[in-house]
Each structure stands twice: as structure tokens, then as C-alpha cells.
Symmetry: C2
Subunit: 202 residues, 2 copies
């Protein structure tokens, strides 16, 4: 059978296909999910979350690109993650504990997102265990990424980390300015510029 994949004018095809990579949703689960989703269009430089706010949503990105970052006491931004189309972004710490976030989530490009509120997400978890399963696997994959990155940060040079980033995230590499990549790698834009240049001179 074929399902309607536009409800209230919201295109839901992407998110439904997204879950097919895990345990695919049945019609009842799709209905439960899609009736709890809000679509938002986000402009470049617009924030989904700012320091001090409590994070209210788990956000699926239909199109566009976001960065989540913290700002240190000198005012320097440190990018924790990028997330583009068909990915999730949220400050899970703030969402779970309902405490003010220390982070910002900001659009790098004009974007369209689908958001689920914490209450709705809890409803889905409680009534449809498949969401527990799917989000367990999603978060496990993110945990693995983060752990590999932490190890790299300790054990590899900035150039190694840069090359690995370019290999691992080709869909991000060519649309992000070097300032943002530098902040993700944990170096200044000046230093990134230097090591990229040194590499060619060899």
C-alpha cells in the first residue's frame, strides 16, 4: 500500500525513509510520529537554540545545515558538531535535564527542519518501543563518532584531523568556510591556513 507522505503540506518522505535505515516504521507509528511533527523554515544565521535557553526539541533536518557550538570565556566559538540534511540535532543534555543550555545551534544555510517536542518524543518512546530502539541506535552511532573524534584530538596533529575531516564528511567539506572547519578541528583559522599551505609546499 502507498501512504500519503504529505500531511498539512509538510513533506514527510525524508524522515520516513530515514527510519527505514533502522527498524522501519509501520503505518500506525508513522501516523503517531507525523501528527507530532512541526515544520519550520530557518534563515541563515537564525538560532534553534541559544545559551541560557532550555532545549525543547529534537530536530530533524530536511534540508540545509547547522552547527552546534559553545563559547568560551574569551568569546571564542568552538564547534561541537555540524549536521546537514537527513540528520538530527539537539542539545540532549538540556533536553533531558530541562536545564539551561550552554550551547548554540545556528543555521549555516537556509534550512527546513522537522521538530518533535520533548513531551511528544516521550509519548512516542512510551507507546511505540520501536522509537526507543531507533533512537538508541542513532545515539549509539553519534557516540561512536564523538569517541573517535576525542581520541583523534588527543593523538593526531591538526593536519591529520583536517584531512580526516575532509575524507569523512565530503558533503560538509565543500560548503563550510574554513573558519568553521578550523573551529571544529580545535585550531584557529590562521593556523589551518598555514598547515594547508605547508602541505602543498612539500
Amino acid at each position: 500500500m502507498i501512504l500519503t507522505i504529505n500531511i498539512n503540506g509538510i513533506s514527510l518522505e525524508n524522515i520516513i525513509n530515514h527510519f527505514k535505515k533502522y527498524l522501519p516504521l509501520n503505518n500506525e507509528e508513522i501516523q503517531a510520529l507525523t501528527s507530532r511533527i512541526t515544520e519550520r523554515k530557518i534563515k541563515r544565521r537564525q538560532f534553534l537554540l541559544q545559551e541560557g535557553d532550555v532545549c525543547k526539541y529534537f530536530t530533524y533536518i530536511q534540508s540545509g545545515c547547522f552547527k552546534m557550538y559553545g563559547v568560551d570565556d574569551k568569546g571564542v566559538e568552538h564547534n561541537l558538531v555540524f549536521a546537514a540534511e537527513d540528520d538530527w540535532i539537539s542539545d540532549i543534555s538540556s533536553l533531558h535535564r530541562e536545564l539551561p543550555s550552554k550551547l548554540y545551534i545556528e543555521a549555516i544555510e537556509p534550512s527546513v527542519v522537522l521538530q518533535i517536542s520533548k513531551g511528544d518524543l516521550w509519548y512516542l518512546y512510551t507507546n511505540f518501543p520501536k522509537f526507543d530502539r531507533n533512537f538508541r541506535v542513532i545515539i549509539e552511532d553519534k557516540y561512536i563518532e564523538l569517541q573517535e573524534r576525542l581520541l583523534q584530538t588527543f593523538s593526531a596533529t591538526a593536519l591529520d584531523r583536517y584531512e580526516r575531516f575532509m575524507d569523512q564528511y565530503p558533503h560538509l567539506a565543500n560548503r563550510l568556510p574554513n573558519t568553521q572547519i578550523a573551529s571544529y578541528l580545535g585550531v584557529t583559522a590562521e593556523f589551518l591556513s598555514k598547515i594547508k599551505n605547508d602541505r602543498f609546499k612539500k
Copy 2:
């Protein structure tokens, strides 16, 4: 009613209480879990996992303490996590993907662990959704910890990170040698020694 909490001479009280912090297990779930658990006594310096091995188990620590670390191409160890009693440890990446691990898990103290094999864990996930839920929350908490640590690594000095570690993990702080803490903080033991001393001289 009161359950037997020793099966085949294995003390299961701790792990059952552990799950009470999340969604507590009912008798059927306890039975399913405990019949799939293997107890092992581990000596100091003994490995649960070595680089090149495929990680086969999710491990609950009854007593003792472990470190998980990677070794860089210069042979230097970098501690990713410590885990002590009433905590879990595993290389989730290797466990999931069934690929050789790049990490070591080594006992820092004589320890007793309860292990669940990947197959048994998948059985529990499939037949008792509560395990999906509980492990989702467990891994989410670990993700939050890791994310905070990564941000700190970028934005705080080694002294800040040291003081924060001592505050946050008092149950680890006083039983770990400084060499191990230095490796966790991402600095050399020599430098840690220096900054601790500089602090007092002020």
C-alpha cells in the same frame, strides 16, 4: 515478593538495582537478563579487550576499575574513559560493527564483572523493549558526558580540566595515579605535576 538474587553463585543484586535507576525490570526481565550473564574475575593489568580484537561483550562492573584507551603511532596511551563499580564499559563501535577494535580495556584494580554477549544483548533488545529504553538512556548519559568533555578540551586549560575532573569524579580521583589522570586530560604526567604545583605557589 522477594527474588533470589544469587544465581549459580553470581551476585546479581547490584545490576538489578542498577536498572532501578531507569525503568526497573520485572521478574521475567530479570530472569531473561540474569540467565544470559557471565561473571568473570579480572586481575589488575588484565585486558578485557586489546587492539585488533573484536569486542564481544557489553560489560557491567560489579567491583574494581577499568580504563579504555587508544595508543597513537608514537606508542603513547590516551585514556578515553575510566569506569568503576556500577558502570558499563565496552567498545561500542567494535561491538556493533564486528570490526577489530582500535582500543584497549584494561583493569586498573582487581575487578569482578558481569558480561553480556552481543547475541544475548540483541536477544534482550528484541524480546524485552525495556532494554532498548534503558540502554538508550544509559548511552545518552554517556554521550552527554563525552560532549561536555570535548567542549572542555577545546575551551579550558589543563588546570581547569584537572580541577573539574577531581570535582566530577571523586570516586575515581583518589584511586588513580596521576599518570593515568594526565593521560585522560590529554597532557603529560610532567605537565600535570607542574600545574598542580604552580597552583599552590600562588
